[in-house]
């Protein structure tokens, strides 16, 4: 568990309201961003993030302090997204495309020159839009790994699947995204021909 999380959790469990507040402030953003990518509209994402924090606080006393909090929050968000999908057709009108047009996703890589930033930004927008074309299973695994940076072990814990399945499902989802990006012309303009790539890794 993150050191900050650990000390906050200990204080929160002793009833310190400011520690509980800080935990909520920290994880509600994580919950919102994840939900936004999974459901594709702000209103549902905000609702899910609020509900996730309610469940988070309710279950605080039952948390195993030796395990990281982050996967657990993702698990709550994922369950809420699934519940919501079952209960209602999500408001698809405000899709990922709309969010992109409104600048909901902002590339922030100051280290790149303007041209590289423009290319990166275009790829980010296309990737976010392509997420909507994936199946629910594929989308959640890409979000957890490639946007939220969870390890395979953490993803296996969140999705309750074996680690090997994480790798194969993730690869399938990535290849599908790659295919979409190829079809739209966003990838494939600079083929790799030498052996340097393998050496670099």
């Amino acid at each position: 568990m993150d050191n900050d999380d650990g000390s906050l959790l200990v204080r929160a469990l002793t009833g310190d309201p400011s520690a509980q507040e800080n935990l909520v402030r920290r994880y509600r953003v994580v919950a919102y961003n994840t939900a936004l990518q999974l459901v594709g509209n702000r209103e549902d994402a905000l609702d899910i993030a609020h509900e996730a924090m309610v469940r988070f606080l309710r279950a605080l006393g039952r948390i195993d302090g030796s395990r990281p909090l982050r996967p657990w929050v993702y698990q709550i968000v994922r369950n809420l997204v699934r519940d919501r999908c079952r209960r209602q057709a999500l408001r698809q009108a405000e899709s990922l495309e709309t969010l992109l047009a409104e600048g909901a996703f902002e590339p922030t890589d100051a280290g790149l020159d303007p041209e590289a930033q423009a290319i990166r930004r275009d790829l980010q927008r296309r990737l976010s839009a392509a997420l909507a074309s994936l199946t629910e299973q594929q989308r959640e695994i890409v979000v957890l790994r490639d946007y939220q940076d969870l390890s395979y072990q953490e993803i296996a814990q969140v999705l309750a699947i074996p680690r090997g399945t994480v790798m194969s499902r993730l690869h399938g989802a990535r290849m599908r995204l790659r295919e979409i990006l190829h079809d739209s012309g966003a990838l494939g303009s600079s083929p790799v021909t030498g052996g340097s790539d393998a050496a670099r890794l």
Binding site: H50, D109, Y147, A198
Partner: protein, 147 residues
């Protein structure tokens, strides 16, 4: 559509390799394979490009006012509730007394209307605040949370 590799490498190992999630023996296999497979090198380069793009994506933050604050402690809630109850009782008693005095006072109707108009404005403003509070309390997302 990107070309497929026709050699014997489980395709998912490329993702594991990219993410640094392989065991040493698997990593070695992928490394050797990449040495002479341009298709997989291309795929890996593109997967890395995609991952760099996703990892550097930041989200527009939600404005603070859209987040409801987490609940206050029980003492604070009790004091606030008691305050509201006492205030409403005081308002009813004092308001009733004032209304009685106004009706029985000898001033002209015009003077009484001036006083009633001002007081009505204050009461309406108070009611609007009270209704907002009640609405917030009913729709409080954290009301089920035990603190």
């Amino acid at each position: 559509m990107p070309p497929d590799c026709d050699r014997r490498l489980e395709p998912e190992l490329l993702s594991g390799y990219l993410d640094g999630e392989l065991f040493q023996a698997e990593e070695q296999r992928v490394r050797i394979h990449l040495e002479d497979c341009a298709v997989c090198r291309q795929a890996l380069a593109e997967l890395r490009q995609m991952r760099e793009a996703t990892m550097s994506t930041r989200f527009e933050p939600v404005p603070d006012e859209q987040w409801r604050e987490t609940p206050k402690g029980p003492a604070s809630r009790l004091l606030r509730g008691s305050g509201w109850v006492l205030f409403v009782l005081w308002l009813i008693v004092v308001g009733g007394y004032a209304a009685f005095q106004l009706i029985t006072a000898p001033e002209s109707l015009w003077e009484k209307l001036l006083v009633v108009g001002g007081l009505s404005a204050v009461v309406l403003l108070f009611l609007s605040v009270l209704l907002d509070r009640l609405h917030d309390a009913r729709s409080d997302r954290y009301k089920g949370v035990k603190r």
